[in-house]
């Protein structure tokens, strides 16, 4: 576990391509494992980060509609992932430089019945279900910011 007495932060800046997702996941899992999260919690953190990043790819850069997964490769489209590793929690903040909330509110479904009908909105549902704190905001200089926190249970 991190016994350095102090928290620390790190950042990843990567291009908006789906290919990157499978590389981000082991990195996040490695850090979560090292902090002492359980296998189940690690899986929850892994998918939550993946969902937020996938959303950037499918929504932030404006060439797709909800439910329409077209993940074009556009290298100038960035995702920034900031991690703050603290004694009792992990905070992950995902930023993009896309459309923000101009396309409509960033909300997920409320339950699986709603999802079964609509066929989209599951990503945000997952993040809210698995993380202890979730904040979605729209910084002026950037598109969307999704900030999530998971506390260590022990």
């Amino acid at each position: 576990m991190y016994d350095m007495g102090d928290e620390f932060s790190l950042e990843i800046h990567c291009p908006g391509t789906t290919r990157i997702l499978s590389h981000i996941r082991p990195f996040i899992c490695s850090i979560a494992r090292d902090m002492g999260f359980s296998d189940e919690e690690i899986a929850q953190i892994e998918i939550s980060v993946d969902e937020a990043c996938s959303n950037v790819l499918s929504h932030a850069y404006g060439n797709s509609l909800p439910g329409d997964y077209r993940f074009d490769f556009q290298p100038s489209y960035q995702i920034r992932i900031a991690l703050k590793v603290a004694k009792d929690h992990l905070q992950i903040t995902i930023n993009d430089f896309g459309v923000g909330n101009k396309k409509g509110p960033h909300v997920g479904v409320r339950n699986l019945e709603e999802y079964a009908q609509k066929g989209h909105g599951l990503g945000t549902y997952i993040i809210k279900k698995f993380m202890d704190k979730v904040e979605i905001s729209y910084p002026e200089d950037s598109g969307t910011q999704v900030s999530m926190v998971k506390f260590l249970s022990r």
Partner: protein, 124 residues
């Protein structure tokens, strides 16, 4: 050698179902390939599909969404989709989200065969 992101292998076509092995990960990157392959199998007229998930290491909402619409389409044809022996991690994610109540999940081959038997019974 490169290990593939997603491998899809049509294992057998039984009398009542197609058995398809899915290995690797099913995320926003691989979901298109998955959907295209499933489309081909669907178009061949299949009513029941069994996905062997033993070597599937990861699934995200993109993958779950693809499983969802596949299930819905097969059920419209009075068929079904069976998720066979997902690993602990994939099962846990599906379960925590409530999808084990929506999908047919079989932990082993016996459970899968029992499902098809009892379904046949019902349809009689």
């Amino acid at each position: 050698m490169k290990t593939f992101d997603l491998n899809i292998r049509l294992e057998t076509r039984e009398k009542n179902y197609s058995l398809i092995e899915i290995s690797g990960y099913l995320d926003a990157h691989t979901v298109n390939m998955f959907e295209n392959r499933m489309e081909e199998i669907l178009e061949s007229g299949e009513q029941n599909m069994v996905l062997d998930l033993l070597d599937l290491n990861y699934i995200s909402s993109a993958g779950i969404g693809a499983l969802m619409s596949l299930t819905q389409r097969l059920r419209k044809k009075h068929g079904d989709l069976v998720l066979l022996r997902p690993n602990r991690k994939v099962y846990k994610i599906l379960d925590l989200l409530g999808f084990t109540k929506i999908f047919v999940v079989a932990l082993d081959e016996k459970e899968m065969e029992d499902f098809f038997k009892s379904k046949k019974q019902e349809q009689k």
